[in-house]
């Protein structure tokens, strides 16, 4: 690894960009969901299930969930780096957050796969 003058690994530019790319997708998909649900409110289970089961929707949802998880990770980590000063505590909360987000990813993947059946 090449370390910069500040001693950190990498420049952080990748995270900076990823935070913005995921933000754009989250914003766009949230607006799509909002307008879709206002234009045609879901009235019953069958309509909801058949809408969700379509491949395009579930792939869009998968990207949405992935974006939310990545965006949460980068955001939470920035908060920890700024406000959690003791190194061991920062490590602990980061580890806890990462574990939680990974579990959420597995859970969400299960919901998305089951939702197609």
């Amino acid at each position: 690894m090449i370390r910069g003058a500040t001693g950190s690994v990498g420049s952080g530019l990748g995270e900076w960009l990823l935070q913005r790319v995921t933000a754009l997708y989250i914003g766009a998909f949230a607006l799509y969901l909002l307008f879709r649900l206002i234009a045609a409110p879901v009235s019953d289970y069958v309509a909801w299930k058949s809408w969700f089961a379509a491949g395009g929707i579930r792939i869009s949802f998968a990207l949405f969930v992935a974006s939310l998880l990545i965006h949460s990770w980068i955001g939470m980590r920035s908060v920890f780096m700024d406000y959690v000063k003791p190194g061991w505590l920062r490590f602990a909360v980061s580890l806890l957050t990462a574990t939680g987000l990974l579990l959420l990813a597995v859970w969400a993947a299960d919901v998305l796969i089951q939702g197609g059946r």
Binding site: R20, F52, L104
Partner: protein
């Protein structure tokens, strides 16, 4: 290092007035943390609603109960605030609205925007 340590620290919170841009910045972080914490609730409701007709009814009854509606309104407000302050930051990334007057105006506008959204949502769901 000594000169660094001897810098005066002035943190009288009753005399320091954080400018509106600073409040919006902190609020962006606070709302972001709340949204991240609420993420499991979203997945739970999605899972429940997709499971079977009974699960769908359960999910809609949770959301349409009084506490459910209040929660939906709060989350809508928190999301809208995070959304608008996020859009503001994205514009600033491309050097739009970075002048002091414009930045203060857009900071106030994020609150106006999120309050308008939550009022519309209130009309929609109540």
């Amino acid at each position: 290092m000594d000169t660094v340590k001897k810098r005066p620290v002035y943190l009288n919170l009753f005399k320091i007035h954080l400018p509106v841009g600073g409040v919006v910045s902190i609020a962006h972080r606070a709302t972001g943390v709340v949204l991240a914490v609420l993420f499991p609730l979203g997945i739970y409701l999605l899972q429940l609603s997709l499971r079977d007709p009974a699960g769908f009814d359960r999910a809609t009854s949770i959301l349409s109960s009084v506490s459910g509606r209040i929660t939906v309104l709060l989350v809508t407000w928190i999301f809208a605030q995070h959304f608008f302050s996020g859009v503001r930051h994205l514009f600033m990334d491309i050097d739009v609205g970075v002048e002091k007057a414009a930045a203060r105006r857009s900071a106030w506008l994020t609150w106006v925007g999120s309050i308008i959204i939550v009022l519309l949502a209130a009309v929609w769901i109540i």
